[in-house]
Symmetry: C2
Subunit: 370 residues, 2 copies
């Protein structure tokens, strides 16, 4: 793997040099991981004029940056213990010592206070903004990344499928969420990709609902949204079910509308399609069905090392989809006091010649009455 | 409860006015919660010249700021949906509209990019630094806060005690951690206070070790550190056990040293004692016993709405303990390749007249061979 990380760092190097910065400091955890692999929490990466250095407050536990003997294309490891020692400050010191005149930092990650500390530590270095350069590199995933996400999707489908075979009525949202997360790990996930959503009755369909002690009851809508983290890569699958022998008419009507909207969004995932178009086609179906009020601002988003990363599928988003960009399509409607429906999938954008979008989360989307 | 929050906001108001800022923007989540109670993720609090406003991207789910009808001493709620809408920017707008000339912000929380967006949104307003003013208010806990932490401690002790009654050999660190977190929630915790640490064999005693697939084996040291979140308030309890009929001599020797160090730290928790003194007495015991190499920079820290908050017990820490300040005492020694010992407790500083430090985590600290 370490060649992959070296190649990613080289691309960033070239961009920085082109932008006039001989050195860059990467502090956002997902960005550091993208460029170095798994590293200790809080570690930062200096792409220096002379050398690349991973600065951490602790020695990486196994696995190191790569298995096998250290390689020339790996960054040097600098460990700076000390309760108040900020690795970013140590990295700025190092950049100055190596004669860097300017250092591009991630202004969307560093706090004002940290940024000031960097400036004070390396007075001779001009601090520039690296912007979201690493996030841009992360947009299009390689085969290795996508295969990790494929496995993450299988793990989430598996955990959800097993839960559906058990008795749900009378159990609390909290317990169902914990059981799902245990099953994810049982099957080999490194952990949940995000806090598992289990929302019953009036909570169903609420975005980002945190599980409560509400018990599942007959007649409820039940929304479950979960994801697995596999080697750092994430996925998201969300489904809504009806509890009891058969759904009420209003439940069927609402479900059909969200299902149609989600399908429209999925089918729009083609290279060259504008982000906002995907959002619009999804939204239009819900609006036409009379559920346009109070829709969430976002109907989907990129996913990878973070559960919510670029691109964002919103009415104001700028840009177009590329092939091999994984995104979620997750429209939802919540009717206050009654509940609602959400359907989330994770897909990879593929050209029609390759069969169109690749669905990573295959749990059925027909309305199940459990 | 809402009177409590109103009183806290009033104290902060006074401090800001004294510091020359008519308005303050609180963005750090734990600080917003301290001043308003449970709020939606990402919500920020504007302490304005005219009004206090809680700005959120979604309507708070139950429970609202307080139960019962809205009160005059509650901040107004402003909901600003929109995928790209930053509540902090909306709050800065509002401060400007209300005629604030300066706005104190949390520079240790806001990123450089967000800070710039605030400045652009409210050009007529001078941005000042609120610093850690709210963190300072949070240092000394009131009875309500301490009773929540007492319950959090009981929940963690209970989950740990139950686990010790089960068979541990052959189970992975990961599964033991998940079982502990399930038990925490079963007993009424809102969740774990931090990612549960289960470290077996050579992993034992490693700070912040994340559970792996390493199985517990005969002869292992086993370090477990967990905490409960109860109504936002947290605690931490950590213990190290030996697996098998009887510990080896080196294990007893190491355990006794860490135990003695941890006791020295606990006994030093008295009002007026310097933070660094508590750290020093703990460290000295380990150094005298020959375990002084590679000690962690921090032997304990404050705890409350965050698991790791002010004060920090380090060699360089400035300041003295006050009564009613909860802290952890958690020395540890890790011998690479062999494992190690950590013992963590959460205590509340109390004067000797009141019986000295109050121990919130009462699981036995004698060396158990399981």
């Amino acid at each position: 793997m370490s060649e992959v990380y070296a190649a990613r760092r080289a691309r960033l190097h070239d961009q920085c040099t082109a932008a006039g910065s001989a050195a860059a400091l990467v502090s956002r955890p997902a960005n550091v991981r993208y460029l170095c692999g798994a590293v200790p929490p809080g570690a930062v990466l200096l792409l220096g004029p002379v050398q690349d250095v991973l600065v951490a407050t602790e020695v990486p536990s196994a696995p190191p940056l790569s298995s096998g003997p250290p390689r020339s294309d790996e960054p040097r490891l600098l460990v700076t213990p000390g309760a108040d020692g900020d690795p970013a400050v140590a990295a700025a010191d190092l950049a100055a010592a190596d004669g860097a005149e300017s250092l591009a930092v991630e202004e969307h990650d560093l706090t004002v206070a940290r940024h000031r500390a960097l400036g004070a530590a390396a007075r001779r270095v001009r601090l520039a903004d690296l912007g979201r350069a690493v996030e841009q590199l992360r947009l299009i995933k390689d085969d290795e990344e996508i295969s990790c996400m494929r496995i993450a999707g299988e793990l989430a489908d598996q955990a959800l499928g097993e839960l559906l075979e058990s008795i749900l009525v009378g159990r609390t949202e909290r317990h169902l969420a914990l059981e799902l997360e245990r099953r994810l790990v049982d099957h080999g996930a490194d952990g949940p990709a995000f806090p598992t959503v289990v929302a019953a009755g009036p909570n169903a369909g609420r975005p980002g609902h945190l599980p409560t002690d509400r018990r599942v009851e007959e007649g409820d809508f039940l929304t479950i949204s979960l994801g697995a983290d596999y080697r750092g890569y994430r996925c998201q699958v969300g489904r809504t079910f009806v509890i009891g022998p058969s759904p009420a008419d209003w439940q069927v009507e609402l479900y059909d509308a969200v299902f149609a909207a989600q399908r429209a969004g999925r089918e729009a995932l083609l290279p060259g399609r504008a982000y906002r178009d995907v959002d619009r086609v999804t939204r239009q179906v819900l609006t036409a069905a009379g559920f346009g009020d109070g829709l969430e601002p976002c109907t989907g988003h990129g996913v990878g090392l973070e559960i919510d990363e670029d691109p964002r599928l919103t009415p104001s988003a700028m840009g177009k989809l590329d092939a091999c960009v994984p995104v979620t399509v997750e429209p939802g409607v919540h009717l206050p006091g009654r509940g609602g429906v959400r359907i989330d999938d994770t897909l990879v954008v593929r050209p029609e010649a390759d069969g169109g979008p690749e669905l990573l989360t295959i749990t059925t989307k027909e309305l199940l009455a459990l």
